[in-house]
Subunit: 501 residues, 2 copies
Amino acid sequence: MAGIEDKILSFQDYMKKITDFNSAIALLDWDSRTKMPKKGVAARSEALGTLSSTVFQMQVSPEMRAFLEELEAGKDQLDLKTRRMLEISRKFYDLNQKIPAARFHEFVVLRTQAEAVWQEAKEKSDFAMFSPYLAKIVDMTKEFIGYWGHKDHLYDTLLDMYEEGLTVSVLDPLFANVRKQTIAILDQIKDAPKPDKHFLERRFDPEKQRQFSEFILHQMGYDFDAGRLDETVHPFATGIAPGDVRVTTKYLPNFFNSALFGSIHEGGHALYEQNISDDLAGTPLHTGVSMGIHESQSRFWENIIGRSHEFWQRYFPDLQKMFPDELSDVTTDQFYKAVNAVEPSFIRIEADEVTYNLHIMLRYELEKALITGDLKVADLPGAWNDKMQDYLGITPPNDSEGVLQDVHWSDGSFGYFPSYSLGNIYGAQMIRALGKDIPDYREQVAKGEFSSIRHWLKTHIHQYGSLYKPDEILRKATGEGVDTSAIFDYFNRKFGRIYGF
Amino acid sequence: MAGIEDKILSFQDYMKKITDFNSAIALLDWDSRTKMPKKGVAARSEALGTLSSTVFQMQVSPEMRAFLEELEAGKDQLDLKTRRMLEISRKFYDLNQKIPAARFHEFVVLRTQAEAVWQEAKEKSDFAMFSPYLAKIVDMTKEFIGYWGHKDHLYDTLLDMYEEGLTVSVLDPLFANVRKQTIAILDQIKDAPKPDKHFLERRFDPEKQRQFSEFILHQMGYDFDAGRLDETVHPFATGIAPGDVRVTTKYLPNFFNSALFGSIHEGGHALYEQNISDDLAGTPLHTGVSMGIHESQSRFWENIIGRSHEFWQRYFPDLQKMFPDELSDVTTDQFYKAVNAVEPSFIRIEADEVTYNLHIMLRYELEKALITGDLKVADLPGAWNDKMQDYLGITPPNDSEGVLQDVHWSDGSFGYFPSYSLGNIYGAQMIRALGKDIPDYREQVAKGEFSSIRHWLKTHIHQYGSLYKPDEILRKATGEGVDTSAIFDYFNRKFGRIYGF
């Protein structure tokens, strides 16, 4: 088969071009959330629409089709990297070549506009302002599922985009199990004395919060020469390119947890992106493989490390030094219990580890109902509040703290939320595996030494980027498939000690 | 000629796509100078290379050729906007379709790398570090002139890119005249008492400088909802998109002028871009028409307005309030004279109005010699210092304050520098014309009222973007072609008063 080497090189060039466009898209997106002046919205939507459409068209073009057909015929001669790019490209091609280019472009423009509207609607707690945009996003998502096709459930198609192979038929029983075990824990906790946490709501100077976030990110090993920290309404991390992985956080003057644990969370995402092998640079494999694996990294750092007793043994004295007036009357133990207090709350990103998964299930149920048409967008705020009452026993005082709290729907990211709970579950499996290789990892955390932990994560997860499927990565790292036993062992041990059960 | 409407629409879509790509390029470039972490350089160069190449290829593609041929055949049926886009596209096509795409890509990547190297070389005052990059840029520029072709002088091709129609045969005598008249002024000044300006080098808190820059930009009418101010080594303004025109400046703790007049200068560029007619949005005409006209706007605001006595009558009390310790012993008149002191200096962007044009001529001469091969890059620092001695009678203490001071060569922008002097000359012609329409404009400046001035500039210059050629814009605004009488009338009147001649 003469000439396949040339074909491979052309395919790699083509993929490189897509990668460069995606890098530009990531920067335009980062900028639109952090630095862009407000009158720039309209033109930015257009530019993002044009770039995303260009990438989309490259992924479903006759040229791509020719690459797929010719290289699949010579599959044996391909290295692992090229084979995996081919596999991902094929999947995308088969899914999307039926979507009219103009509709895709409209969808991208709509999403950018919707995010700007959502931001304002959230500030004003005005769901009606956001509602028509969300309705259009839901309609277009349903239209796209029509093109994409689906297996058993319409929603399966969306799940598969964030976690290859995941279906409602897997998730429904998994979540039922999580719900049952979560309720069992909450039952054991409900009569225990509540940890004092009023001191978390003292006034913490935002500038000092920023300094402390920066300090902790440094400690974690986040490389500021290959990244930066900014402030946004909704914190996020983004891998713009190799050597350029940025995080954002939000400084609430009257609630300490938001910025600190938000920074650690996004730092966890960023460490993943910063530690992908250089071998994968210039390819679409130089990014985290799935949202579930990505969230496993962010939630790992935020909770398993960042909310551990050992972590605060090491860092609480530094925190007290930074905030002497606010924290001099607080002990490490009190602080540890306060940041781990389990109780129903309105805001997902500020929820404790145990109730967090209930926030996810609520969104999962509502998304499924929106997609099947069982729920209309106009009825969403009511449905949200009803479910909050059902799952958590509380009702948000307004939509800003309820249905408008998350950015995801404005972005059309239906099917994403379950990734957070998968991340929690994977993360617990990973620390169980890591604990076998590094038996004294807790002592290391207590000394602020994270290099072995980071090395373990890099070796078992980060370096691979998207070279393997999520399930393969999980198996490589832990020797097992998805399994809820680790997380509930972890919950029971940790919260058993805190709440004495 | 059925179907030309469709052709026109397709051409407009095609131009819109180019415009969106250029907007992304402008953002990537802005970010690489302001926010990007340093390890992002390599990948950013690649992404910029890919995007610029894509635009380049679209401009010389068979599709573009078809647009040109079909629409030129039906020229009478085109509106002004489409006709002008066609004219610009044709010019670019004829120039560039012979440049190999791969060479163009390499040039873009080289420039991005070179700028990063230049920045470090400037900090370290290490010309040798920058030299190999500059040599490659000069070589590639010469190679490109080979593809582009040239009229009388190799350098004409470069001049024409920044100022349509300009040639060495026009510029040489124009500059000879400017040099003669400049020397006449310097002769009259040299024995006059020097204005005291030591107070400009007191310590001015950078944060307060930032606040004052922001205040003045607001006063000028720069719209912060459609822009932002950041800090960079080399100040610049960039029109990223309609509604998104950004400026940067540099705060030197021990020299006040740099940030303030830099901000006003970039603000002048930005006002131009912010006041282009919305009719031109989504087309490549939504940008300033030439570097000469652009610099006329920046230098107009920086010098003719920002260094006028009336301006400081109005704003010096505000400045004193901001810096009471630093400026309480200074009068408005002393300050006015200090910021207008004429004397040889090393740094172009900090030069007074009169000697400024000598800095430009020096660069113009060196560029011509580099392009003809009469001067080698290795000999550039020596040649720079010799010319500084010849033109200004001083020799820079190091290359950082000499040959390395400007960003332009790292960017391959040969042919750009003359635009600054053209801008000075045009600006003086414009204020002469404006003065006929608004006889009391000086009184308005003295009250901090800029709306009539801004309106005049918008009506006569800004709104048109690139809809007309630079020469047409100048004639529309002033009723005349390029002419040095206005600037020397202005210089003689202004500096005659200050220096008593």
